[in-house]
Structures are given as C-alpha cells and as structure tokens.
C-alpha cells in the first residue's frame, strides 16, 4: 500500500504519522504539500495529521480547510479513497464539511494531554476492520478543542447512520460522563462519513503504535487499513 501524509503550515504530527505508519506497516509513506491540487493516483490512504495548522487561529482547522489540497481530497474521497484525519486533521475535515459536526473547546477550557481509552463501535469500516466491537484501545489525546458537537438534528442523523466509530470509555469499556475527557457529545471520539471511507478521530494512533511509548493499540488501526486494502488486492 502507499500512504500519504498532508503537511499544512503548522502541522506538527506529520513526521510522527510517517514514522508510525512506515515502521508498523513497512511501507513507503510520503508527504504531500498543502498547495497541491491533486492527490497522486497511487494513493491508498491519505492522512491529515495533528498539529496547529495556521496556529489554530480563528477556528481550529478553518484555514487549512480552504487549502488547495482539500479539493483533491474531496475528489479522492468521492471516489472511495481512504481519508483519515487525526486531531487537527479531524478538525480540518469537519471545517471542510467532509465530516459532520464541529470541535469546540474542551469543557475545562484547557489543553489536555493524557493517555485515554476508547471503545470500538463499528468494525465495518476500513479503519476498524481488524478490531472487535466493544474492544478498548489505549491511545493518548492532546488537544484544546476536542469537544465534539452536533446540532440535535444532525446528531440524530449521525446516530441513525451509525457514523460513530469510537467513544471515550473507561479501561473496561464503560461509556459515561466520568470517562469523557473533554465533554464531547455522546462521548464521541471518532466519526466517519456516511460512506465510511473518511474517518476523523481525536486520539492519536501514531503515538500508540510502539511498546516503548506505552501502547501499541494505535497500530491496530494501521493493521486494519492494511488488511482492508489487501483484501482488495492492494499491498
């Protein structure tokens, strides 16, 4: 498989995602500059990494969402290509309306960086194909604007479409207010688009794919993508 990581001015997890994907999957991972209009035709996965694109000024992800590469990503997603937005990448995808909702300031109004656990809600997406429903993954969060918000009507639709892929939970998988680090609606930590090929999530799988970093669970998401692609003849 061939993965691409988009670099915006202010991205700061781009190298981390490259390192994590490349070491876990032993596959070439290249970067893409935000000013490009098109994605390379050999792309199997495009990742929008975390960071502070444009300093997170105005609204997180808003300025990056107007970058030329987003047009390319839209076309690519419409054709079924796999797109993953992590943290700031998630914020960019919501601002670009590739994913529903918006990410607001954490309920304690502070930046939160800590290890977290999320429960897998769906396994029929490319990103979770090798996981179990109810499985708990340990992955850290690091954000100031991670409170996932949807107006009531949109929320109904998102739930009806089963677009929630990850929810914040306790170590044993309990989803409740106590285990909601940032105040997200319904403990939502990750959502997909209706088609299921665009995923946004706040926790950082790339920070959890090596034992020495405290967790390898993020690597399971990479494995899922690789497996899903392999089943479709892409290696």
């Amino acid at each position: 498989m061939r993965a691409y990581v988009v670099v915006f001015p202010g991205s700061n997890c781009d190298r981390d995602v490259v390192h994590s994907l490349a070491t876990r999957l032993k596959t070439p991972v290249l970067t893409l500059w935000y000013e490009e209009n098109h994605l390379p035709s050999d792309a199997d996965l495009v990742v929008l990494p975390g960071g502070f694109s444009y300093g997170d000024y105005l609204r997180c992800g808003a300025m990056a969402a107007t970058a030329p590469i987003l047009q390319g990503i839209k076309n690519y997603a419409e054709n079924g290509g796999l797109v993953l937005g992590i943290c700031n990448g998630f914020q960019i995808l919501t601002e670009a309306r590739l994913l529903p909702g918006a990410l607001l300031a954490n309920k304690n109004l502070k930046f939160i960086c800590r290890q977290c656990t999320v429960r897998v809600e769906r396994t029929d997406t490319p990103f979770t194909s090798n996981l179990q429903i109810g499985q708990v993954l340990k992955m850290p969060i690091a954000h100031h604007e991670g409170l996932y918000f949807l107006p009531p009507e949109d929320l109904k639709r998102v739930l009806a479409n089963r677009q929630v892929v990850f929810r914040y939970c306790s170590n044993d998988g309990t989803v409740d207010e106590e285990n909601n680090p940032n105040g997200s609606i319904e403990n939502i930590a990750g959502v997909v688009n209706e088609r299921g090929n665009v995923l946004g999530l706040m926790p950082h799988p790339e920070r959890a794919s090596e034992k020495i970093l405290g967790s390898e669970d993020g690597g399971l998401i990479w494995d899922s993508v690789a497996l899903w692609l392999a089943k479709r003849g892409r290696r």
Binding site: P9, N12, C13, D16, F52, F111, A142, R207
Partner: protein, 570 residues
C-alpha cells in the same frame, strides 16, 4: 538624553567615552544602555561564572554560544540550555511564559539543532490568593500554548512554591535539541562580504529596551520609549524551525543567531565580534510593522520569531524562495564588513558606529561588595526532629497535601508531552526519557533546585541543588553528560545577597566538578525582588544524561506486593 536614563552607571559611561574617544550619540547610548545592562552583559556575575568547570569528555561546545553541546554517540550531539523569563512573566503571565519558551527554542535552533524536548522550572507564591492563582494559570497556559503549537513536547520540569516568589514568580524554560556533529552552526564563521538576512516576523515596538528600562525610572517618557508587551506567535516559530532546517539541509546558512533581548543589536554585534569582522546594518531595509520607527528602535526591538542569518550573496534567491514557501518574511538588511565595527545607517546617514567587540563585551565587570548575612549566624540546625505519635497522621497528611509535594499532573497535562513520539518517560517521573531516533539512544533529562537549602546554607545548598538534579539520573542508570543552570537571585547590589549568590554558586560548581558534570550553558537572572520581598536563592539545574539502550534504564515505580524496600544513604 543622559546615561542614567538608559540605565548606565557613571563609571560605565566614562568607560564608553574613553573607548570611543568621543561622546556617544543618542542612539549609541541607548544601544549601550541595553547591551551593558545586567541581562545582556553579565557584569555582576562574569567573575562568578568562572567558577564553573565546562570541560569534560563529552563536551563539544561549552558556554559562550547559543547553547551547550554534548556528544551522544554515532556522530550525533545534544544541544541544550535553560533561560529565564521572570520579569516578562510577572508583567504578563501568559505572554511572558510563552515568549520564554519561544526564545529558548530559537537558541537551540540557532546552533543548527532540531528542538526535541522542553522542560520548565516554575516558582510561585504559596499562599493561594487571586493574583497568585491567575498568575499560575496564565504562566502554565502560556507555556503550553506555545510549546504545544510549535510541536516540541514539554517532557518534565520543576514546580516550587514559597511565598518569597509572590509577586516575583520565576519562569525558566529549557530546551534540548539534536544535531549532527558536522552540522553545528556557530556565530564564529561569518566572512567578509557575506550578507545579513532577517528571517521571520516583522519588527515592531515590542519590548524595546525592556532590559534597561526595567531598572530605571522612566524619566522622559515618550510614547515610544515605553516597553510594549511582546506577543508570541508559535505558528510563525513553527514555520521558522521548518524553514531554517530546510536551509540547513541545503547548506545555505553560513552563520546564524536568534534574536532575543536587544534584538538585531545583540545578534548582529555578537556575530561580528565572534567572527572577528564588522557588520553593517541598513535600518531602512528592516521590514517594520509600524510606521515611523526610529533606527534605534529598530535596532533594539525584541519582536519575537526572528532569526538573523548570514549567507553567501549567491544564495539569497534560494533563501528567499524557501522563506516564501514557509510564509515568512525575508529581507536583506546588511553585510559583513572587514572593519570590526558595528555600524547602522539609515538612508545613508550613519546612526551608530561602535567597535563590534565593545557592544557585547565591553562592559566593565562589577565586583559588588559582599558580606555574610547576619541571619546565617542565628540559624541553628536541629539534627533531630521528634514527631509525637499522636500528630503523626496529621503531619503526614500535611506533607502530602503541600503544593510542593502534591501531584503536578494539573500542570503537565496541559502540556503536550508526547508529540514527536519519543517520550518514553514523561512528566510525573523523576527523570524524563526521550528516544533519539537518529542514533537509537535515549536521553535522560532532569531539572531541580533546592532554594530552602540555599537559603539555610548557601554553599551546601548550591551543591544540593546539583545533587537533587543528578541523583535521579544516576539512579536510573544514565551516564551524566552535562548540565545547564539558571541562576535566579535578588539584587546583587546588597552585599548579603551577593555573598549568598557567590557561595551557593561555589557549592554548585564544586559539586558538579567533583562529580564530573560539566556546565555547558546557562543563564543569570538577578533583581528578582518585589516591594519588601526578595526571592530565595534559586539556582535551577537541568541535566542531560545518556542511556545507550533501554535495558540499562531503571524506571521508578515498578513495585509489587512483597517487594523489599531499602533506604540507601546517610
């Protein structure tokens, strides 16, 4: 305009006249006022700093450059330094702390290193009241707000509470970077004919003459002479890091300086002095944020997120192109000359013409009178303190709930301590351990200080400040490579303060020397006083150690039921 207004002492003014053989003009006087301030010239501590040993088998570069550098194997090196931002943080906690982080990261960048990790040392008042609480909140948010956005993890630090810091908090920021030994950049390598390029933000009236005006009354207060709060822009800093590293990779930078206190003046004069050349700055070519800035304001502005690059003229177009890619301003503002002068002209008119060496290095050293404080005579150290049985629980709980002992996760959870995916042991551990992807080794980092001991027994307290920082490194199995320190003290003009300063540094230096930990960089912050109050002597120590692999690393907190505990030591 009089020498007192710019914060100079009479003997310093006379020295200037003698060196120049004439009266300095107004701009020159303002520039020398800042450059000969305590903050820039170390005039009160240069003799004290000589006590430090800076040699050791791992040392590649000792004090004198932007950061100390030590060998970490495989051709790679670690660059590190700690710096204070105490005065700005007292005025504006968020921006003061944020720009402190930005400043130390640029120091690391200036030697050509990639900033890999930050640590922060914070000292606050202990009694919880509104102003202390909002100050703490502002400082912590500022450190996080900046470090998180630039993408440098804050992997550890030190927080200390005592009421002597009320109204005068200490904010010390340390950064560690990695650099290939062959790619180290210095300020000694500028050559005649090379161009001087300003990269980064536009120049505004931020913090002009902050260093000098802080110690004088603002006599003739014109609007422009009032220091303005410096605002940090971590977004631009991130772009600067990326851009400089792209330029370094393409070997387009001959020499480089960050711009901290005294902005263009200190960075430009330092390059000239160290390279044994002169430098000529064209004030009108500096891109400014505000109209009508005078040449001396341009020369002294402390606007953040700027770097001074020295490049070959032929490379200018490439440098400019790279700057455009990273959305940065880039302007040719001067050239390296052969006359060893620091010269500023404005539209052809000479504004400043001083010997380059005199600007940064000319200030005469002051040896303040020193006297052992009276209070030390009256201190009785009780060797034994008996705890009455019935008060045991109460005292034990009071220790556990003391802010100095209590868990600090409310601070460090606001810092991204994992970005760059190297953090093997983050904050909350006695040592922080980061992986060095470049050579497969690990760095063990610690930061500590013991102000109470320094107050009770300056010599041994200084030694203990070193030992507190070094012990966890030894205990975890790391090899100590070198240290940096930030000497935070009250005014040296009081003989008793000066004595404590000298004694505690003597103890610190001796312990570090005896235990083979060279001092490769550091910083001094004096005059930490608020009305009626002065801070405890606070020499903060940051140490970098090496773990060749994780098998040699002994983490703390790996305990199980039935394990046997030993207490080792006196």
């Amino acid at each position: 305009m009089n020498y007192k207004t710019v914060g100079l002492r009479k003997e310093e003014y006379l020295a200037i006249k003698k060196m120049l053989g004439r009266e300095p003009n107004e701009s020159e006087l303002r520039i020398l006022g800042v450059m000969w301030s305590e903050h820039c010239s170390y005039k009160s501590t240069r003799s004290i700093l000589k006590m430090f040993n800076s040699e050791g088998k791992h040392v590649i570069q000792g004090p004198g450059e932007n950061a100390g550098i030590v060998d970490i194997g495989g051709g790679w090196a670690a660059a590190f330094k700690v710096e204070s931002h105490n005065h700005p943080s007292a005025v504006e906690p968020y921006q003061g702390a944020a720009t402190g982080v930005g400043g130390i990261i640029r120091d690391i960048l200036a030697v050509g290193a990639w900033p890999t990790a930050c640590l922060d040392g914070l000292f606050f008042g202990k009694t919880p009241n509104n102003s202390t609480l909002s100050l703490i909140e502002g400082v912590v948010a500022g450190i996080g707000g900046y470090g998180n956005a630039v993408g440098v993890p804050t992997v550890g630090g030190k927080t200390f509470f005592d009421d002597s810091y009320e109204g005068k908090p200490l904010v010390n920021a340390m950064c560690v970077g990695t650099v290939h030994q062959e790619s180290v950049i210095t300020s000694r390598t500028a050559k005649v004919g090379q161009w001087v390029v300003l990269l980064g933000s536009r120049t505004g009236r931020d913090g002009i003459a902050g260093a000098a005006f802080a110690s004088t009354e603002l006599a003739e207060d014109t609007k422009s002479s009032k220091p303005q709060v410096q605002i940090g822009d971590p977004f631009v800093e991130k772009l600067l890091i990326e851009c400089c590293h792209e330029l370094l990779k393409d070997k387009l930078i001959a020499s480089m300086q960050d711009m901290g206190a005294a902005g263009i003046t200190s960075s430009a004069s330092e390059i000239a002095a160290k390279s044994g050349t002169g430098i000529h700055i064209y004030a009108e070519k500096v891109p400014t944020r505000e109209a009508n800035m005078t040449p001396w304001e341009i020369a002294l502005s402390e606007s953040q997120e700027r770097m001074l690059l020295i490049i070959e003229p032929d490379n200018f177009d490439k440098v400019k192109k790279c700057a455009e890619k990273w959305l940065l301003e880039c302007a040719l503002i001067g050239e390296i000359t052969s006359d060893k002068r620091f010269r500023i002209t404005n539209h052809g008119e000479t504004v400043v013409d001083l010997p380059a060496e005199m600007v940064g290095g000319g200030c005469p050293v002051i040896d303040w009178p020193s006297q052992k404080p009276a209070y030390l005579e009256n201190i009785k150290v009780e060797k034994k303190y008996e705890v009455p049985q019935e008060r045991f629980k109460e005292l034990f709980l009071s220790v556990l709930t003391d802010p100095n002992v209590r868990d600090k996760s409310w601070i460090y959870e606001q810092y991204d301590h994992m970005v760059q995916t190297n953090t093997v042991a983050g904050p909350g551990n006695p040592v922080s351990v980061i992986r060095i992807k470049e050579n497969g080794t690990f760095l063990a980092l610690s930061m500590d200080c013991d102000p109470w001991s320094c107050w009770l027994d300056p010599y041994n307290g200084g030694a203990e400040s070193f030992l507190k920082a070094a012990r966890p490194l030894w205990a975890c199995g790391a090899e100590v490579l070198g240290m940096t320190d930030c000497l935070n003290y009250p005014s040296p003009e009081s003989p008793e303060n000066y004595w404590v300063l000298k004694e505690s540094v003597r103890g610190l230096a001796q312990a570090a020397k005896d235990l083979e930990c060279p001092v490769v960089s550091g910083n001094v912050s004096l005059y930490n006083e608020s009305p009626g109050k002065k801070i405890l002597p606070s020499p903060l120590v940051g140490i970098v150690g090496l773990l060749r692999d994780l098998d040699t690393f002994l983490p703390s907190g790996r305990m199980e039921a039935k394990d046997i505990l030993f207490l080792v030591g006196p």
